[in-house]
């Protein structure tokens, strides 16, 4: 039953994100545009480029959609409202997100176009840069909760949200989450004016519709992860818990979408270098800091 309850919320959340995205990027607020855009995409030809790797080309959009949906399954909307309350939820989230990289590389390779291929390579590098910065802040969060279960992680923040308890981890996770969603300034694999759409460049029609939907769900998933791990999830006064989760998630999404507007796209080499030179030492510092605070408080 919980699943049935969550599907409409997933749709609504995705819908709000796409409206938000157009609002923050072009300054136009058009709440009906996603409906028109989606339907018109479905009514267009879905071309298969010449000499594709057909399996990869066809499977990539689906995989990119499935990965964040799976990750979303372990994120609680409210106490008890969760599709799969795994004891290893945080770990499962990591595993599911790993397929984002696979899907993007498949899309880039499968389409047999140079732009897509370069986009795929770039995301491979991006993955190297961000992957540790997803894992290590989650490690610190799990340390505080003494559990990998996402519901326990939320409950551990009752006294103090993780964003205050471990601000460094929050910042690193936030940036890494943007990199997973390839949102600007991390939009290297789709860079519009560098790769003419990159990995998405050869997709049209319904396949493109799935790919775009998948990206939106990915943003929703990562925003929800930030909410669950650092912003206290459903915790909040007065309003029902599920509204708190939804509102926080959408605010995080809006902030993520808006940040990239004022910053130039990162260079590939800088992204990878900074990820390892600064990101990982800082993430280790964060783990150390959390460890020390836990010892002191206990």
């Amino acid at each position: 039953m919980t699943v049935l309850w969550l599907v409409p919320l997933l749709v609504v959340g995705t819908y709000i994100i796409v409206v938000l995205e157009e609002w923050v990027t072009t300054g136009r607020f058009r709440p009906v545009a996603p409906v028109f855009g989606g339907i018109s995409l479905l009514g267009r030809e879905s071309l298969v480029p010449r000499l594709p790797d057909r399996v990869l080309f066809e499977a990539a959009p689906g995989l990119l959609l499935v990965a964040p949906v799976l990750a979303l399954a372990v994120l609680p909307l409210a106490p008890g409202t969760i599709i799969a309350n795994l004891a290893t939820g945080a770990l499962f989230l990591n595993a599911a997100l790993a397929y984002v990289m696979v899907a993007l590389f498949m899309a880039g390779w499968g389409a047999n176009s140079v732009y897509g291929l370069v986009g795929g390579w770039r995301f491979l590098g991006q993955f190297v840069a961000y992957s540790m910065l997803i894992v290590m802040p989650i490690t610190a969060v799990a340390m505080r909760a003494q559990s990998l279960a996402t519901t326990t992680i939320v409950e551990s923040q009752t006294s103090l949200w993780n964003v205050i308890a471990q601000p460094l981890g929050f910042i690193l996770f936030w940036l890494a989450a943007m990199a997973v969603c390839f949102l600007p300034p991390f939009d290297l694999p789709i860079a519009p004016h560098e790769l003419a759409g990159g990995i998405m460049g050869e997709y049209t029609g319904d396949r493109l519709a799935i790919l775009r939907l998948a990206r939106l769900v990915l943003i929703l998933t990562l925003s929800a992860s930030v909410t669950i791990f650092f912003l206290g999830g459903w915790l909040g006064p007065v309003l029902p818990p599920w509204i708190w989760t939804l509102v926080k998630t959408l605010l995080v999404a809006a902030a993520m979408l808006g940040t990239g507007r004022f910053v130039p796209r990162l260079r590939q080499e800088q992204l990878v270098a900074w990820g390892w030179q600064f990101g990982i030492p800082l993430a280790l510092t964060n783990i150390l800091w959390v460890g020390v605070t836990l010892l002191v408080v206990a």
């Binding site: 140079v114 507007r261 590939q268 800088q270």
Partner: protein
């Protein structure tokens, strides 16, 4: 019904979808959004979204004059768009390569808005049509053939098993058209190979290159099936494909080699990779004789299979030999092996099983020493990140640019033929040269004619012209900044610059300049505070030596090169050019930002608010020369005047000079850096070829 309607019966569902499609239209702008902006068009204000890929566009928006050489590329872009698709021509003449435009309108924003409204109703009523006809061009046609992954000589029209090894044949693609004829009309690499095989085929063992026979068979040493080997001349030709830093020569070669506008240049070919190597064959004849004798002998001596190389060849590659130079000449050698390794379309030279070491054995060495497949990809002439019409092709080594080929041949409009004629209309005809800076060329024509006729211009007119020229500079720099911001991926810069540009484009020096000046300086200040911007641009697109550079490119290299210094009326204003000594993309940005402020200050100083007047031009004879500093650098015009008619014209435009720096700034860079570097040069492809 629209020209690119999708086949459909037009039932209720179709009509509903068509209504939705009419509301959401994305346009692919040709030749480029910066040209549309220069004409004062704002497609987004007209309710269009801008698509960066033809695959994601619903309509192609033709803006202004489309040079003939570009028409073929436009047709390919159109063919790549998914149906339903439409054509909107804004101030464009007839285009023989495309279907008739669905909406044809005049070149102004009001018409565009009205035209898009008209298009919406056309789309809503005609997205789906049972009578929809296809748009088919030779360049995109291909038929499928079935080949054995192991035995490339087995080519069948139907699926089945290989008669030699019994493996299942895999679908591949053969091009239509005459394989022995015009290469630009063929596409797949198979035709390429067939042509090669037809011409000169020998069979060799993949393991034992010394075994060479004229007929297929098995190797007497190991018993493997022999594979066809390409003729040595072709290999040499490929090896000799070099686009050295002196791109002027390359340009000429390209023009000579491409009698027909080559189809390999467009954005986004359906299979960019397989396609890329025709280029090499096109130009083989031009390039073999030059500098490849040594390599030629190496190849002949080795008698080696195409994807392998003799040891000394190998040695040569390892030798860095000044980075780019050494690698240049080998770029082509891998193309076939590369193509065959892709996606299981094993139709090429690789026979038998090979380890990765063997597969990469002959590949060119990158800077990091890792052998990678090099692939040539078109980044133009309709690439969204570069000025529309600039025909750039990168040979990519991974995502590094190993070689750069640039040409402006596509923009050729034979304008020089239209220039002789009455001197009174000459300024307007010359202004047609560059839609990105028409006022500058109009002024240049005035100066040259007046010099030829011996007319001295009075100070008030000179002041007016300073105002007009500086105004043009402001407009041009803002347009560049909008494009540059887009390449950088900084939407705030792109959108703000475009909005400021839209306020001033098309207007002469107006009274609202004070308010504009405030807004502009606010924008420049905020731009300077953009986080990570300096880090993004520092040390990108470095020009170590900008000898011969012109305009802001030279001034960013610390050179005081500015035609305005020679102008007496500028000297009266205590003019000193903005010079930055960094030589990279950040320096070029700084120079142009400085010039935006400076130009507005100059306009304020000359204190002219009247529109520029057309001065009378005498019925005189003589020869005259004038040089002015256009937004991109100094342009020089020589005219010969006989009884008030222009007889001879010789023009030197700054982009002709600066385009030579494209390979210098882009070679060896990552794709993004290469594109930013090229964008930072602010080239106008329109100036490249008259």
């Amino acid at each position: 019904m629209i020209s690119g309607a999708r086949l459909g019966i037009g039932n209720r569902v179709h009509r509903f979808v068509a209504t939705m499609q009419a509301r959401e239209l994305a346009a692919f702008v040709v030749p480029g959004i910066e040209v549309a902006r220069a004409f004062g068009l704002d497609p987004e204000a007209a309710g269009l979204r801008i698509a960066v890929s033809p695959r994601h566009a619903d309509l192609i928006l033709l803006v202004g004059e489309i040079p003939e050489g570009l028409a073929q590329a436009v047709a390919i872009v159109y063919a790549q768009m998914p149906r339903p698709r439409a054509i909107v021509a804004v101030g464009t003449g007839s285009n023989s390569t495309l279907p008739a435009p669905d909406v044809s309108i005049a070149l102004n924003q009001e018409s565009l808005v009205a035209g898009i409204a008209e298009l919406r109703s056309l789309v809503a009523n005609g997205s789906f049509n049972p009578d929809a006809s296809g748009f088919d061009i030779a360049e995109t046609r291909a038929e499928t053939v079935y080949v054995c992954p192991m035995h490339p000589e087995i080519v069948r029209t139907e699926p089945g098993l290989c008669p030699i090894c019994g493996m299942r044949l895999v679908p591949s693609e053969a091009a239509n058209g005459d394989i022995h004829g015009d290469m630009s009309a063929t596409h797949g690499r198979e035709a390429d190979q067939e042509a090669a095989e037809f011409a000169n085929t020998a069979y060799t063992c993949p393991m034992h290159p010394e075994v060479v026979q004229s007929k297929p068979g098995t190797c007497p040493i190991c018993g493997m099936t022999l594979v066809p080997r390409q003729s040595t001349t072709q290999e040499a030709g490929r090896a000799g494909h070099s686009s050295g830093p002196t791109s002027r020569d390359t340009d000429d070669n390209d023009q000579a080699g491409q009698s027909a506008p080559s189809t390999d240049h467009h954005l986004h070919s359906p299979s960019d990779r397989s396609h890329a190597h025709h280029e090499r064959h096109d130009n083989v004849a031009d390039r073999v004789p030059h500098d490849t004798h040594e390599q030629l002998t190496n190849h002949q001596a080795s008698g080696d299979q195409h994807s392998m190389m003799s040891p000394d060849m190998h040695e040569m590659q390892r030798d860095p030999h000044d980075g780019a130079e050494g690698r240049h000449s080998h770029g082509g050698t891998d193309m076939h092996s590369m193509a065959t390794m892709d996606h299981g379309a094993h139709t090429g030279m690789m026979g038998g099983f090979m380890s990765m070491v063997a597969m990469t054995k002959g590949l060119p060495r990158s800077r990091d020493g890792l052998p990678m497949e090099w692939v040539e990809a078109p980044f133009g002439p309709l690439f969204p990140g570069l000025p529309g019409g600039l025909d750039v092709a990168f040979t990519l080594d991974g995502d590094d640019v190993a070689q750069v080929r640039v040409s402006g041949a596509m923009m050729s409009r034979q304008l020089a033929q239209t220039w002789p004629g009455p001197s009174t209309t000459f300024p307007d005809r010359l202004a047609r040269l560059d839609p990105l800076a028409p006022v500058a060329y109009r002024l240049l024509a005035f100066y040259a004619i007046e010099h030829a006729a011996g007319i001295l211009i009075d100070p008030s007119l000179a002041r007016q012209r300073i105002a007009a020229l500086e105004w043009q500079r402001v407009i041009s720099h803002l347009n560049w900044l909008a494009a540059f911001g887009a390449v950088l991926g900084d939407r705030w810069i792109a959108q703000s610059a475009a909005a400021l540009h839209l306020r001033v484009v098309g207007s002469s020096v107006a009274t609202g300049i004070d308010k504009f000046q405030t807004d502009l300086s606010g924008f420049i200040q905020r731009l300077g505070k953009t986080p990570l911007l300096k880090r993004r641009l520092d040390q990108v697109g470095i020009l170590a030596e900008a000898t011969d550079a012109l305009g802001p490119v030279a001034r960013a290299n610390g050179k005081v090169v500015d035609a305005r210094l020679e102008d007496r009326s500028y000297r009266g204003l205590d003019f000193a050019p903005v010079v930055v000594n960094s030589g990279d993309a950040h320096g070029r940005l700084q120079v142009r930002l400085g010039e935006l402020t400076q130009s507005l200050a100059l306009i304020q100083a000359v204190d002219v608010h009247a529109a520029q007047e057309t001065p009378p031009i005498a019925e005189a004879s003589g020869a005259g020369t004038a040089t002015i500093e256009t937004p991109r650098g100094a342009a020089t015009l020589h005219v010969t005047l006989v009884d008030g008619r222009i007889q001879e014209v010789h023009l030197t435009a700054p982009s002709m000079r600066n385009v030579g720096f494209v390979p210098v700034v882009a070679t060896g860079q990552e794709v993004a850096d290469a594109l930013v570097s090229i964008a930072s040069l602010d080239l106008s492809p329109w100036e490249l070829n008259r």
